[in-house]
């Protein structure tokens, strides 16, 4: 009596490696190389950690950084960007509020650019931050998180050189 009840090997082979193993191998290699290249040079996968971008970006969410966003145009006000430290392993996720050459100040939690209050519809939380007006250099951007309800001393913010901005958040 035959007691074998395993799946048909040819059926299993078709599912796992396809009808033509050589072609499947080539496809797998091409796909792996493409994924690696995209993840490294085009869309950098990130995990948001910490609460400085609340409520726009919640803690522990996965997102992507578009590294080609500023290939042909400079960063814009309102863009949420990734700012590298020594390299791309860990980055700050911040919003650009001040552009090169502008004066940036905080008064009662509002950002003032060249003396004019900036309209920031993305802000939901109240803030009491105060900072006197200060001028940005020719390649400097003022970057700050959206969660300005936290004490200013605990919030990492300030000017970032253009070379440190790696790209714009995708989602």
């Amino acid at each position: 009596m035959n007691t074998e009840a395993g799946p048909d090997p040819s059926w299993l082979q078709t599912i796992v490696i396809g009808r033509n193993p050589r072609r499947t191998l080539i496809r797998t290699v091409v796909l792996a190389v493409a994924c690696f290249a995209i993840a490294r040079f085009i869309l950098l996968p990130i995990r948001v950690q910490g609460g400085s971008m609340i409520p726009t970006y919640q803690d522990n969410r996965v997102n992507f950084i578009n590294r080609l966003a500023y290939l042909f145009s400079p960063p814009k006000r309102g863009d949420v960007v990734a700012i590298r430290l020594a390299g791309p392993s860990i980055m700050f996720l911040k919003r650009i509020v001040g552009l090169p050459g502008e004066s940036v100040a905080f008064h009662e939690g509002h950002v003032y650019i060249n003396g004019q209050m900036l309209d920031e519809p993305y802000l939901r939380l109240k803030s009491d931050w105060e900072d006197p007006p200060r001028e940005l250099g020719p390649d400097e951007y003022y970057c700050v998180g959206d969660n300005r309800s936290m004490p200013q001393a605990d919030h990492t913010e300030g000017k970032a050189k253009r070379e440190r901005i790696l790209g714009k958040i995708l989602l």
């Binding site: 700012i83 430290l85 020594a86 007006p133 001028e135």
Partner: protein, 178 residues
């Protein structure tokens, strides 16, 4: 034909062996420094299980990475800037941290090494990541190390924290607070 293939394989193996031997006998300074920084991260990390003698020994071990006249200027999150002058002061501080904090796991990421043309000094820029026992989030800090080759060893002469998002400003003339 078969003999020629074997010869080529043998030649390849010999070339690889030669490269390995050359790298072992004359290591690239950047590679040596990178390895040293990883060892430093390991020496700076500690668990809460250390006894008093182990604490003192490990703090001393941590100090062996630094020159006698080392200068460390660090911005500790939530505190004012701290300056340590000399290895003894640094070891003392390391011992103090080991006594107060339960455990710390330090990692050095994105280690960029620039060796001077005379290969006697180097600068290292890296991202330090620290997980402290009892804290939900980890701490990150960009650091700059200046190293000097003393004898056969690379010792740290200076450590500075780097402000990734700088707060050094030029005041705007003629503009008052809005």
């Amino acid at each position: 034909m078969k003999g020629r293939v074997s010869q080529i394989i043998l030649l390849g193996i010999l070339v690889l062996l030669g490269i390995w031997l050359w790298r072992t006998l004359f290591p690239n300074p950047a590679r040596v420094i990178r390895k040293r920084m990883l060892e430093l991260a390991q020496a700076a990390s500690f668990s809460g299980k250390e006894g008093l003698i182990a604490k003192a020994f490990n703090a001393e071990q941590f100090g062996s990475f630094f020159d006698n006249d080392v200068e460390a200027i660090v911005d500790v999150p939530g505190r004012s800037q701290q300056t340590f002058s000399g290895r003894a002061e640094l070891v003392q501080a390391a011992l103090g941290v080991r006594t107060v904090v339960g455990s710390v796991a330090i990692e050095f990421l994105d280690i960029n090494v620039t060796v001077s043309p005379d290969k006697q000094s180097a600068e290292v820029n890296l991202t330090g990541k620290a997980r402290v026992a009892g804290e939900r989030d980890f701490f990150v800090q960009e650091l700059k190390f200046t190293l000097k080759k003393i004898g056969r060893e690379w010792l740290i002469k200076k450590v500075e924290t780097v402000k990734t998002l700088s707060q050094n400003w030029r005041p705007t003339p003629g503009l008052a607070a809005a």
